[in-house]
Amino acid sequence: MNALVTYPATPENEKAEALRKEIRAFLEAELAGVSPVIRARSWTGYDAEFSRKLGERGFIGMTWPKKYGGHERSNAERYVVIEECLAAGAPVAAHWIADRQSGPLLLRYGTEGQKQEFLPRIAAGEFYTCIGMSEPDAGSDLAAVRTRAEPVEGGYRVNGTKLWTTNAHNAHAMLLFCRTSGTPADRQKGTSQLLVDLSLPGIEIRPITDIAGDRHFNEVTFQDAFVPADALVGEEGNGWEQVMNELAYERSGPERFLSSMALIEGLADLLRTSAGEAAEIAIGRLVSHIATLRFMSRGVAAMLENGENANPHATIVKDLGAVLEQSIPDVARSLVDMSPDDVTTRDFLSLLAYTEAITPAFSLRGGTREILRGIIARGLGLR
């Protein structure tokens, strides 16, 4: 038995490193003057104009075929672009989900028509999607979905509710995971995925304000919404396999440990001039963790490039990344002599307050900590 999960060493890619300079210069110019507390929103920050500019530069759909608007770049090159966007705290939310998972899913399972219609618009930074998985009664237990797409003449009639749908109010379409036959008791069987145009009648999007006061969550209700037959992605009834692959895309990226770079940089800046032993040790520890996670995450990207199954690898990176990121506010609190009535640390405190408020999400979104650890345990042969 080989229980240990190991990650391939990925050789430095000269093209990707050249690209790093390019994307860095672009981000520096675009984000000049943006405050750390805005940067801390990073991949939850929505800015359609920024997404279009990224698209124009060829930084979305980077690995996709040119005939679908992609750029046929390597995963290593895409990796550099997304990690630089995250580290800089660029507002990538508009296109992030489409680039990360909806596009790749269409590329893998979509019809020729779907690929031609949607992929070029996604790559241009003009077409945004949201994830239609969670429901009021189906959170971690995704197979309990009740939203139903009843096959009818020419398409489906959809009824049900999706919840915690990030960016539904800004998205053009939802990749809806739903039941097309059977009952919730059938679990994974009888499920499918539809790419639903959110402007269709019968769909209502209601905002939910998050703990930090931001609006990205939504509740999306479907009431006899008619969705045309050509919205079906992949095979009817094959939804579970497809959605598991979609989740693998969702979990594989470096956003799972780079959400807090704005706070880490802010912390390092505060400490730089007067760093004592405790600060050196604490920042060094963050370095040892991030350097390790980057090595692992780049290994995941290389495995995906080679068509290998990187599910356990990505799951471990996400689990470790969330633990690290959730520890960062307290690392900062232990090092910075701050007090709410001290005006010199007020900006840092507001950055800290924002990051603290969103840390619970790190081990919830994209699969809870308990679900991830269950997946890791399955890999160990325990389930």
């Binding site: 760093a275 050196e280 060094g284 390790t292 980057r294 308990e370 650890r373 325990l382």
Partner: protein, 354 residues
């Protein structure tokens, strides 16, 4: 992975795993003889594995050669393979002749070697200092090699019973056994090389611990089902797997950067990250194995206790994290630009020659 490495790793795993009762590992802890297994290590050519073919090695990349250290620890082998490989690597760099016998090394103060060529010093906590055929000494601008018997070695008590010794040296260095010390082999670099050896050993031991824990929870039944079927146990073992994976990955990062010289910063990452993983890995394994894992008889302690010694040797997390922090602050610019720079992220192909 190259074909040579596949053959070699299989053979090494067979060799180190052949002692199903851990007799050698236990003997080493009782001050006994490990010569029998070392003979086989020599037969396989492992002591020279870090060297180029011109230097007497067999053309493995450093990344590949360093895997052998992890494999030996994963199989519970109690041999100074890492010490010997690094000692030979230093000897080759200094132009001294390499050797197949057990070797170890000590970094001593600059004044240890006098003008007259006399080496006079004490060395503390030298791993395998009583057993090694050769002691490689780095002092000031010199590298020297001493044969067993030309110095006094007294065993010191390691709390986890690994063979360590204090040395008392007073000898005139023979011609041909001393050379100029290459500038690239300063004290920090040599310490980092051995820190990486210990990190690799810890990573290998963690892989073994993970396997021991998984086997145990699959076999042990309580409340009518195997322990591994309980979610509480599954969640704990997932954390063990996470930490073991991180420790191993940190070592792979450093190993993939080992080239003409030692990658000091990524070796620091490896030792610090593996050291940090050591607490959850050993604690969880002992928790799930219960009382049986707390016995001398069970092999779990051969791995967990070795880790508890290794994590303190050649710099603990505190020392290496501090060094990383100082380097990060000293680099100027953003932390991110330094993290993504060559020192911590340039890696080579697994098969690329060192």
């Amino acid at each position: 992975m190259s074909e040579t490495l596949d053959l070699l790793t299989d053979a090494a795993a067979r060799l180190f795993g052949s002692d199903s009762e851990d007799k050698t590992a236990r003997a080493a802890r009782d001050g006994g003889n490990v010569a029998a297994i070392w003979e086989q290590v020599v037969d396989m050519g492992l002591p020279l594995a870090l060297l180029s073919e011109e230097e007497g090695g067999f053309g493995l990349s450093a990344y590949e050669a360093l895997q052998l250290i992890r494999i030996s620890a994963r199989n519970g082998a109690a041999v100074p393979l890492g010490e010997t490989m690094v000692a030979n690597w230093i000897m080759a760099r200094a132009g001294l002749s390499v050797m197949e016998g057990m070797a170890t090394l000590a970094v001593l103060p600059a004044e240890a070697i006098g003008e007259d060529g006399r080496l006079s010093a004490t060395g503390h906590w030298v791993p395998w200092g009583r057993d090694a055929e050769t002691l490689v000494v780095l002092a000031g601008d010199r590298v020297a090699s001493l044969a067993k018997g030309s110095f006094e070695a007294k065993a010191v008590q390691d709390g986890n019973r690994l063979p360590r010794a204090d040395l008392s040296i007073d000898t005139v260095l023979e011609d041909g056994s001393v050379a100029a010390r290459p500038a690239s082999l300063d004290d920090v670099t040599v310490r980092a090389a051995m820190a990486l050896v210990r990190a690799l050993e810890m990573a290998g031991a963690m892989a073994a611990i993970l396997e021991i824990a998984v086997d145990y929870v699959n076999q042990r039944t309580q409340f009518g089902r195997p322990l591994g079927k309980f979610q509480a146990i599954q969640q704990q073992l997932a954390v063990l797997a996470d930490e073991a994976a991180a420790a191993n990955a940190a070592c792979d990062l450093a190993a993939s950067q080992w080239g003409a010289t030692v990658p000091v910063l990524s070796a620091a990452v490896a030792k610090a990250r593996a050291g940090e993983a050591s607490a959850p890995v050993t604690a969880i394994a002992h928790q799930v194995l219960g009382a049986i894992g707390f016995t001398e008889e069970h092999r779990l302690q051969l791995f967990t206790r070795a880790i508890w010694t290794w994590r303190n040797e050649y710099g603990s997390e505190r020392e290496w994290n501090r060094m990383l922090g100082q380097a990060a602050f000293g680099a100027g610019g953003t932390l991110w630009s330094w993290l993504t720079g060559p020192a911590l992220s340039r890696t080579k192909n697994a098969g690329e020659a060192a």
